[in-house]
């Protein structure tokens, strides 16, 4: 479990803003931000997480908690603590099913779907993706087969950091960008992963839909705080009744 993941997401938004400032293009920023954050992720992994492979997961938890503190404060020192917004790169809106949608949201829908499809294809159809899955399941065996397992972990971590950065930048025109944004997001992300089942990407997508739809529907007749509590309630019930989530394998991290 990585507590600094929310901060990588935040870094993505800030790196993107910086790149937009330099190049003036959102699309170049969308390339540069994940690249920068991915490199940061790789360096962090090699320097701090790699020595912890053989230790209890608790140590990783606390280490990333410390890293999150460092990252958050570094961003505050570099860019200041105020809220920022950026303009959506796609303007205008489209009428759809009797409602008017901003084009940027439609773009996000398409882009996120494509990204998810790409990730799914990577994990199921490519040799590299299968190696990553094997490393999670039985690192020792994979090592015995001659794969450089530490490198696999580093690249996986870098990849996940880059994805977090993409999410951070893509959501920047919709949400505000500020140093605490990662802290607010990370719990929701954990909830989605646990609810869906660890190691199951389809599960995460389904869980994200369930949480998103539940949130929107409950908002119709509850205030936002009650909705938050109701979402936590769903989470508690799932953890008690079926801790592996919707599609998770039994016994992961138990």
């Amino acid at each position: 479990m990585n507590f600094a993941h929310g901060e990588l997401y935040m870094f993505g938004a800030y790196a993107g803003i910086a790149a937009i400032g330099l190049t003036g293009s959102f699309w170049l920023a969308l390339l540069a931000a994940p690249l920068a954050v991915g490199i940061l992720g790789a360096v962090t992994e090699v320097a701090t997480l790699r020595p912890l492979y053989r230790r209890e997961p608790l140590y990783g938890l606390i280490l990333t908690f410390g890293l999150a503190m460092v990252f958050r404060e570094a961003v505050r020192q570099i860019w200041g603590g105020d809220m920022r917004r950026i303009l959506p790169p796609v303007e205008g809106s489209t009428p759809l099913l009797g409602m008017t949608y901003p084009n940027y949201r439609l773009f996000l829908l398409v882009f996120a779907s494509a990204l998810l499809l790409g990730i799914w294809l990577f994990f199921t159809r490519t040799r590299a993706g299968i190696i990553v899955r094997a490393a999670v399941q039985d690192a020792e065996m994979l090592d015995g087969l001659g794969v450089n397992v530490p490198r696999v972990f580093t690249l996986t971590f870098a990849g996940s950091a880059a994805l977090a950065a993409i999410a951070g930048l893509l959501l920047a025109p919709i949400f505000t960008v500020y140093p605490q944004m990662g802290v607010e997001m990370i719990l929701l992300a954990f909830i989605v992963v646990i609810l869906g089942g660890m190691g199951s990407m389809g599960g995460s997508v389904v869980a994200a839909f369930v949480i998103g739809i539940a949130q929107s529907l409950l908002t119709l007749w509850m205030n936002p705080q009650r909705v938050a509590i109701a979402i936590f309630g769903i989470m508690i019930v799932v953890l008690i009744v079926r801790p592996r989530g919707f599609f998770g394998r039994e016994g992961v991290l138990e």
């Binding site: 606390i62 503190m69 460092v70 404060e73 020192q77 509590i229 508690i236 991290l253 138990e254």
Partner: protein, 316 residues
């Protein structure tokens, strides 16, 4: 059975009691010492769970915050008796602890941590948004509590003595507990839960028991906090505070009781001292954490042990 209070521990507590008499203990340092010892006590009670039973609670901020709000609500309404505050805190934290521990102990490992975390987030959300509890501002400007009618705990020195007494009693409770039969069953659960169950122990009852004791001690510490700070805010319950409690235990050394007290005090002093020099103290504190996890995984107490061992080896 040996006495729960070793000679060394008695000397340390005697030194703590004499500390305010030394000339360099200004009001500022007394309040700082209050925080250091109070959070040290919280870390010690968390150590009962993590270090002795192998249960990682990520929701102790809720116990602390509920204790603080129990006292704050009474103080706000003019009920200043410390004993009533402590009593209410025990009842409220006890009921909440019963609920959480009943459900959380059905699960192990990371799922236990997550359940305690989410329950605590519910408490945080409720207090953060309920206007009767002051919303995000919390309850501010509280009067000092009283030990008996007319005996106010209104100076830093009195608050300090209060926390020393609390720490002393909490330490005795924890020390007695871990060296009792109950404590050995907890260690058995930590080492191999299934085996403990096959030996006939009702594992869940033991786990709930230690959760309740740890929660109760943390809640009592929380109830002492508004007397010193004159407020209770929802920030006290935020999950990052639970994370800080965990870190205090880790810094000090798991499963040692004394270690987490030192860890808690160290964390508070580090934060306060670094933040008085630089604005970016979080970077320093975060880096210290990373350093400790990487190079001193057994905590400060374990580090000292290794150092002593090294010295002994060096001088045959």
């Amino acid at each position: 059975m040996s006495s729960p209070l070793s000679l060394r521990a008695a000397l340390v507590f005697a030194a703590l009691a004499l500390l305010p008499l030394t000339p360099w203990m200004s009001k500022y340092y007394l309040l700082l010492a209050f925080d250091a010892l109070l959070f040290g006590a919280v870390a010690m009670s968390l150590d009962l769970l993590i270090g002795y039973t192998g249960l990682v609670s990520f929701g102790h901020a809720a116990f602390f915050g509920l204790g603080a709000y129990s006292a704050a609500v009474l103080l706000e309404r003019g009920v200043t008796s410390l004993w009533l505050s402590l009593g209410l805190a025990v009842v409220i934290v006890g009921l909440y602890g019963l609920l959480v521990s009943y459900f959380a102990t059905t699960r192990r490992g990371i799922y236990f941590a997550l359940l305690t975390l989410i329950f605590a987030e519910v408490v945080y959300t409720v207090f953060r948004y309920t206007q009767a509890f002051g919303g995000s501002d919390g309850i501010q400007g509280l009067p000092p509590p009283s030990l008996a009618p007319g005996v106010l705990i209104d100076t830093p020195a009195r608050n300090y003595y209060l926390v020393v007494v609390y720490l002393f009693l909490a330490y005795l409770v924890c020390r007695t507990l871990v060296s009792s039969h109950f404590g050995r069953v907890l260690a058995a659960i930590r080492e191999n839960e299934d085996r403990a169950r096959f030996l006939g122990y009702d594992v869940q009852r033991y786990k709930m028991g230690v959760c309740m004791i740890s929660a109760g001690l943390t809640g009592l510490a929380g109830a002492l906090y508004p007397g010193r700070a004159a407020y209770a805010t929802p920030d006290l319950m935020h999950w990052s505070i639970s994370g800080e409690f965990l870190i205090m235990v880790m810094i000090g050394g798991l499963g040692t009781l004394v270690g987490p007290i030192i860890g808690g005090a160290f964390f508070i002093l580090l934060q306060e001292k670094v933040s008085s020099y630089v604005q970016w103290y979080s970077i320093v504190v975060g880096l210290v954490l990373v350093f400790i996890v990487l190079f001193v995984p057994k905590g400060l107490l374990g580090f000292r042990g290794a150092l002593l061992q090294g010295l002994r080896r060096g001088t045959p």
